[in-house]
Every structure is written in C-alpha cells, then in structure tokens.
Symmetry: C2
C-alpha cells in the first residue's frame, strides 16, 4: 500500500483563503487497476484559477468538495504501471492535485521528454498558462503591428507569455507588475516597452503616459483596480480577452458606484470586445502552440521565470501569497526529487 | 432664396430631454453650388442614437452643437440640382436633419426607387436600423439553428428585424416589448416564438420560463432593467452584440450595487462575448444586406411596422416618446407630401 500525503479543502474561504481552509492528511492509495499507473508527484503547479474552485458556485468547472484533495496540475514520475504506453521512471504531466502520490488513468497523462525542456515548463510556459496566453491573445486579442497591448501580472506565467508573444507580433507592449523588482525584470529581461508598478500612487497617470496611442488590447488576467486605470484608455475596436480575475474586481473605495452603466456605454461608443475564455475552448490550437512556443523559447524570444517553493506543506502559504502577488514568476511547489 | 424651417438643439438635456431643449427656427438657405442639390425633406427618421448626440461627450460621433440643427436621416425630394447624377423630382436618402429643406452634396445621397419599395423603408427596415440588425446579428450574434435569441424593443425598427432574421436562421426567438399590444404584434404578426412584457411585475420569471434552454444571443439595444433579467440566463459562449442603450443602464433600485464585478465574473466563467458596434463598421456588407433583406420582405419573411407622425413641429415630442417606448414601430416624421 502506498501512502499519499495530501492537502484537502478544510473549509470554503470567505474572501482571502486562510491557513485553516486547508488541512494536511495522509491517505492509503489503492493499487493501480488495469490501464492505470501509480504516480509520485515531483512538482505541483499553483495557479490563480484554484481560488475559484474553492467556492461552491456554478462556474466553468465543478468546485472542490470539502474534504477533497485540492486540484492542480503536476509533473509526476511513474512508479508502477499497468498501462502499456507508460513504464516506471517515465515523467508525465498529470492533474494529481496537492498530494505526494496518486493513482491515475494512464490515458489522461502526457509523457514529457526531460531532454527537450525542463519538465517544470509543462506547468508554465509550455503548459496551461502558456497556452492560455497564446490562444487568448492570438484568437481574441489579435494584436497587430504598431498597436498597444497592456497586460497585468506581467512577470507571471500568463502575463509574461502574453507580452512576449505580442512583441513578436509587432505590438507595443506595456506590462503592469507589483514593485520595482518585477518591473525591472519585465522591462529588462522580458523586453517589454514599458513596465508600470500598480502600487505607485500615480499608477493611472503612469499607465496613461506609457500608452500615448491608447490601448488596443488589454489582456485581463487580474481584475481589481487595474481595470479602472485601463478602462479610460481604450481605443475604438479594442479587444479585451478575460482569462482571470484574481482581485475579483473588488475595487476599494468605489464600492458604492455601479460601474456597469459606464462600462456598457463605452462598449458601445468605442465598439469594444470583451470576451471571456477558458483555454480548453481552443484545444485544437495546442499542437501549433507547442511548435511555436518551443521555437520561440529556443530562439530566446520567449523567456520565463519560475518561483519554486520547496515542500508540499508549504503549498497553502505559497498559494495565499500568489493571490497577493507575492510570487515572482510561475509558482511551482517541489514535492520530491 | 429658400427658407428652411428647422429644429435646433437649444440646450443639452440632463437625463430625459425636455421640450425646452429644442427650438424651432427659420433659416435662409444658400443656393446650391457646383455638385450640390436643393432638397425638400419628405420624411425624417427619429432614432435612439440621437439622444447620444445631444450630449457633449466623446463618443463614436461628434455631438450636435448648441444652436445647430438636430441630426437625422431623411427621405428628400430634389428641388433643384447642380449635380449631373440627380435631377429635380428625384427621391433620395439624405442626412438633412430636422428641417424642411437643405442644400447637400449630391455625392453623399443615395437615389431611391419609389417603385421598388415604399420610400420610408429607406429609413427603417431597408435603412440604417435594418442594417444595424442584420450586420450586428449575423457578424457578432451568429445565431445557430436551435439556439435561443432574446431581443428587446422587439416591435421597433431594429428589434423586429433582429428577431425575424434570427427566425430565418432557425433560432428560437423571444422578444421583449412594452405592453400587451406590442407583445401581441411581436408574437402574432412577426412570428416570434414568445413575447414578454417588460412592464409585467414578474417579467424576469416570465423571461426565464420563455427561455428553458437559456440564452445564446442577447441583442442589446435598450439597456436598463432588461439586462438584469437577461444576465442570469446566459449559456456558455453566449454572444451579446451591443448597439444601443436607450435606458442608459440606469437600473432603478440597484444604483448602490456595483454590477461590474458580477458581470466580469460571468464573462469569464461562461466565456461570454460582449461586443459593441456601430453599423458603419460593416459597410462592406451593405450590398448583401439590400439583396437579402429585399428578398425576405418580398417573400413575407420579414415584416415591418411604421409609426408615422405628421409635421416637423411634432418631432421633439415624438422623439421624447421614443425614448420612453411610446412609439409602435419605426418612428418617422412626415414633413411634406
């Protein structure tokens, strides 16, 4: 019998998650059945979408049940296989969740080639976040040469890919990030045209100055007060792919104003497109994504940064930090060597 | 010298326009120059977009200046021509505004064939409102057979065309209108699958019952409290073309709630598309529109209703009524025989 250390959802958070919303447990795993494999988790991805799964509301995916293992993508090693396509020692992309071991259907796994790219990239720039950036930007955002694109969380997994792909397409790219260190990284390492610190007291003025031609694409992956600064700058026919709302649009200080009328007026008068999406909608673009993104990384045109936290027991704190922008790069938890 | 009776913008309205916001004047017109024509207005179109032009705010078109003639599309007769393409007696589509006569560049006019269709249709079902319905519905709304479409102001110029075209495309069509008479017209004369009176106290419940499969397309041409009833019913991937906001989204009773966060959350979780548009964006579809729409009218598949008010002096009152839904069909002012 294999024991799995796991983190389960102990309680549904109200607002920000608390340590008491998570609980560490140990569970016995069944032996793998026909077609299944026993997996050891090497790396666990932490992503903003997980906050939504902690709520008991209708959304694009079912919520995590109370007492169930927190969901999440993983890079895992096959320990034991009853699936002819996989053997012990193989490294795979799985969705094992916040736990040290798991039994999974081999057909649901993607085998990774550790020689082609560091395996952690399957959770980031070559994984779901990178694909979210690629598909949402190219299908909905459609940046054209000379246009201005703005993206927030610009040092993060999605934002950094959005900005760099938009640069490849010839757009002027302005990143928003939290703090001078991240802004320097976005500008100097990722090659964005400008980087604005959303914590600056004159953030809105700085953003306006960095977008002298207005904004043609705003890739919305944060919500919150960034929207209020971006909104007045939209050009006619601006496109707004919406893939995430970390800050839940809880704009402090504006809670008593209904922003919907003004938003809809501008949607009309500037012919704006606001389009929500989940990456799985664009599954038929995955092959193009792997091909193009791998090439861009090899050419040094797309760079990425990972923020690796050690130990499953540190996942809750790292996740809570993610929601406050404390990570610096794609947040991954290392569970085993 | 020809004298033109005209209605000018006397003051910018706050909220609903008042009679004092308009002023009747008489002005001397210059003689037509080279390439120009002298026009007599036969019919003036009154449309919701004119309310926006009365405001001094940046929008998709410049505002009407204080003291300037109110803007508007017209069907006019050529009285005198210095343009070789037109001669006295020709009937043209013009943009002469709220006045009895005008001098215009002949190149900006479209000659109408009174034998092909009643000339007033050039202001409605075969004009800007009909084209707004056609282009917005087919390019953004994209109704598919078996889907559910909802449109408000369903007995009006845009809404009636939206619903009937969607029926031709095989959608289930639910119209929203004000009062039992309009609802009966929408259901019995236009052939919508259902018609809901937005004044009914249980309007939201009736709408829900009429959309058992949810809503796939909501053609937004009114704003206001209809949005709140429609919003909870959107299916995944619903499309929301936005072409007008008569009620300015001033939802009574909900003014203290910021509806933007909930809206953006649903945009994300249901992969909604909200897309504002002005019909001129789709100018390259005009030829297809004239061809298809003329055919549908001839076959009896698209019907229309006109509400014709007599006399330029009655235009302000008719326009104020339009903003409150008092018209029944495309509102047109007859200025001369």
């Amino acid at each position: 019998m294999t024991q799995s250390r796991r983190i389960v959802l102990a309680a549904r958070p109200h607002g920000r998650p608390q340590p008491s919303d998570f609980r560490m447990e140990t569970a016995e795993l069944p032996s793998p059945g026909e077609g299944e494999v026993l997996l050891q988790t090497l790396y666990l991805s932490l992503d903003p979408y997980m906050r939504g799964r902690m709520n008991d509301v209708k959304s694009y995916a079912a919520p995590v049940e109370i007492g169930a293992v927190m969901e999440g993508g993983t890079v895992s090693r096959v320990l034991e296989s009853r699936n002819p396509a996989l053997r012990a020692g193989d490294i795979v992309l799985s969705h094992s969740g916040w736990q040290s071991h798991a039994v999974a259907d081999g057909a649901a796994l993607r085998k990774l080639d550790p020689a082609a790219a560091p395996v952690t990239t399957a959770l980031g720039v070559l994984g779901m976040p990178g694909f979210t950036a690629y598909a949402g930007l190219l299908t909905i955002g459609k940046p054209k040469a000379g246009e201005t694109l703005v993206v927030a969380a610009a040092s993060g997994a999605v934002g950094s890919a959005v900005g760099q792909i938009a640069k490849i397409k010839g757009a002027r790219v302005v990143g928003i990030a939290g703090g001078p260190e991240k802004c320097a990284f976005v500008r100097d390492e990722l090659g964005f045209d400008a980087a604005i610190d959303h914590r600056a007291p004159d953030f809105a003025e700085q953003l306006k100055a960095a977008c002298p031609q207005g904004i043609d694409v705003y890739f919305e992956n944060v919500g919150g007060h960034v929207w209020d600064a971006v909104f007045p700058l939209f050009n006619e026919f601006a496109r707004i792919p919406v893939c995430g709302l970390i800050a839940q649009y809880n704009s402090s200080g504006k809670a008593q104003t209904d922003r919907l009328p003004a938003t809809m007026r501008e949607v009309l008068s500037r012919s704006l497109t606001i389009r929500g999406f989940i990456q799985r909608e664009f599954v038929d673009q995955r092959k193009d994504f792997y091909g193009e993104m791998t090439g861009w990384i090899a050419e040094g045109r797309v760079r990425y940064r990972e923020d690796i936290v050690d130990g499953l027991e540190n996942a809750p704190e790292a996740f809570m930090g993610l929601l406050e922008g404390k990570n610096f790069g794609k947040l991954v938890v290392k569970i085993a060597d």
